[in-house]
Symmetry: C2
Subunit: 457 residues, 2 copies
């Protein structure tokens, strides 16, 4: 490790230590801690705060310098944010909430108990109240909830000099000034001009000559779709429009990154069948953890009952050749793994529009071929150990079954997400239980049918 990096890690450890000490509010150390926390790296401070209980967190938070505390509050997980604001004295909570951007404020108030939320809303200035209410008027999970009405825009009749004046006149109020929307008389967005372009252009030129075609989103758009637009275009901010194409806000790249982070956590949680944690792990109760996992386990155990049913049907054959039972976990485990691999590839490909439901035939052919190829490879590989545990005819049954099960599992894993999307269901939600059930049940039927044919049962 380079010396530069070691120095940085020492500084980080010092910050962490300072935050941990701050939760105890040792009076004598207050000055020293304040000094360290003054220049501290805020994401580190936020990480430490999220590891504390409610009381300690409030104590530590109050030792942060004023302007760091507003930014730290914005960075906390929403559930933790709400807890913290509840734990602070009313006067401090009011000051903090007043300094938030309207969209951050709206998301925070949403998570607070009704009476506290109303008390805080009432303490705002009329302008701030209005801006917050505008954000709250949009449905949750839409980009409207992330767009701020505090913005700088210019009319299409303005000159470059006018636009620069508008940017300068904005004393830090707007969330972004780097992409300036150009609007017509009805407040419809006709273009966007970057601050960089404004600076590089002759001030006398009209803005409509230097603006670009706007990339914009509608306030009612899904937050994830809008965040992808920002990412795919590499934009710093995009205008947010109402359904009459009028400008209602700006959606900035830092909010887009946060949306993608939230959605990623959600997708990944769904893929393994659990709820997303709304708060840091260490401060989540075991009951909340259990609640977040039980639904999927119940669905999967109901599905597993189907497997019991299939096996029950073949109990006679099992009785005759008990060694068939030894390989059931291997067979359905492998099928399940192959199905999960195919499904996860497909869920991602759908999400990034690599594949569409109409491609189902191309996908089916490709997955069947892939699955059979994998099946042959695994069958060859598994034949020898199988022979070690049982007679060679049973080993043959296992190898043949592996080929068929792999082909079926890959095809099912590839097709089920596409069918789900076509039916308007989230592919990540349905794929796991459907594939497990399908692969387990058909895999066992295939296994015993092949066993019946080869062993003459």
């Amino acid at each position: 490790m380079s010396r530069a990096r070691r120095t940085r890690e020492q500084q980080q450890e010092q910050t962490r230590q300072a935050v941990r000490e701050a939760r105890l509010r040792r009076a004598g150390d207050a000055e020293r801690l304040r000094a360290i926390l003054h220049g501290a790296d805020l994401p580190l401070v936020v990480d430490e705060l999220e590891r504390m209980n409610t009381r300690q967190r409030a104590t530590a938070f109050r030792m942060l310098p004023r302007d760091s505390s507003v930014r730290a509050l914005q960075m906390l997980e929403p559930a933790v944010q709400a807890e913290l604001v509840e734990a602070l004295p009313d006067a401090q909570a009011r000051l903090l909430v007043a300094e938030l951007d309207p969209d951050d404020r709206a998301r925070l108030l949403d998570g607070l108990p009704m009476d506290l939320s109303e008390r805080l809303l009432r303490s705002l200035t009329p302008q701030e109240w209005e801006a917050t209410a505008a954000v709250l008027s949009h449905r949750p999970e839409t980009v409207g909830r992330w767009s701020t009405p505090r913005l700088v825009s210019v009319s299409q009749e303005a000159t470059v000099a006018d636009a620069l004046r508008a940017v300068r006149a904005d004393t830090g109020d707007a969330e972004t000034v780097y992409a300036v929307p150009v609007v017509d008389a009805e407040h419809r967005v006709v273009g966007v001009v970057s601050l960089r372009r404004l600076l590089a252009t002759d001030p006398g030129r009209p803005v409509h000559e230097v603006m670009r075609e706007p990339i914009s989103v509608y306030a009612s758009d899904d937050q994830e779709d809008a965040a992808r637009v920002v990412r795919d275009h590499g934009a710093l901010a995009v205008p947010v429009l109402d359904d009459d194409h009028r400008l209602v806000g700006m959606f900035t790249v830092d909010d887009a990154m946060r949306v993608l982070q939230i959605e990623e956590a959600e997708d990944e949680a769904r893929a393994v069948g659990r709820e997303r944690l709304d708060r840091p792990y260490l401060t989540t109760s075991f009951l909340a953890l259990a609640r977040g996992r039980i639904t999927w386990l119940l669905i999967l155990i109901v599905a597993a009952t189907l497997t019991v049913n299939v096996l029950d049907h073949f109990e006679d054959q099992l009785q005759q050749v008990v060694s068939l039972a030894l390989f059931i976990p291997l067979l359905i485990g492998t099928g399940g793994n192959i199905g999960a691999q195919a499904a996860s590839t497909m869920i991602r490909a759908l999400a990034i529009d690599d594949v569409r439901p109409g491609d189902v035939f191309r996908v089916m052919v490709k997955e069947l071929t892939t699955g059979l190829t994998l099946g042959v490879a695994l069958a060859v590989f598994a034949y020898l150990p199988a022979q070690f545990f049982t007679e060679s005819r049973v080993a043959l049954v296992i190898s043949l079954s592996l080929v068929v099960v792999c082909g079926l599992a890959a095809t099912a894993g590839g097709v089920i997400p596409l069918v789900a999307r076509r039916l308007g269901v989230d592919p990540a939600v349905v794929s796991a239980p459907f594939i497990t059930t399908f692969v387990d049940a058909t895999g066992l039927v295939v296994y015993f049918l092949i066993a019946g044919a080869v062993l003459g049962l």
Copy 2:
């Protein structure tokens, strides 16, 4: 759906259609297609290009307007990018490559055959050649590979007016001008000042009075770590330093988003045991798909052999009570699911620093409690159907086993990722096979021990 959104979807379909037609190069339609493609949404165009074969893609690409084509090239998947550049006539390839930013160019050249890459490098101007070589000197997967040496910086003696002049003088060459690094005589970064701040400040003031503490990264830092720094601070760009703290480039938010997208795809692929696809699904061959999945399947099938071994050991008991075999898939399936839920929660918590290896005891207690709670719930739920298929003493064995297996599986799922991290291994890589093996093997041992005790086998 609102009218606004319907209109947009029609425009999108028109763009897709135009790109599809462009691949056939119908001479008569060229003018109409060019007109549509001129204002087209580039991410849509790129999506369509990625669904074509190499020849069609090159034909369609050549119908794009000049400046869209550079941006479209930058947006393509790296493997597809390289294919496309190879398929284009040399003169056009040279023109395109000359217009890329140095970091994009370096990543592209990295994926090309050596002779083509050298030919293209040689056609660059000396300055461009040097800038590209600087990026290529950093190790892959580091942020140095994503940082551009084309930047605007100002000396700490400069005034705000000097800084604004430097920004204006930069005629679109730098990748970003919104965060301007302030350097000392040794070219060490002493601060950063935002363009917004520069515009809002009296031009006569020295920049060192208005700059902020810099948030910076080292060129040798892992690309994902650096991208998280950008995201967590909501920064538009951060200075990239060499090990002597000297400024070597800027890392911008759009590149950070791209890094996070790549790393997310990688993590998610590893979590289900497959390789990340380096190219769009539809243009990936079945052999490449199979190759990306086989390693994990082989590891898991070796692990499954352990399960066969355990079952072999209990073959006598199975012979006596064949109905025990019926519930093996249900039992180890449930254990596997619970283990996967716990592990995926923990892998994520580690990644975002919610949990550290030192928290292993807190995690163990929490997961054991959660697992036993889930086990009791599932045992009650599964008792009745189990009784339906078998006698009530066997149903009791199943219920008791579920409680123990769930407790074990959740604990293992919680602890294994922490141990992996402590040992310096990627938790996402080792967790799945270890947990499956552990849960399958111990689950079966528990099952047959309980069966032995309850049924007196």
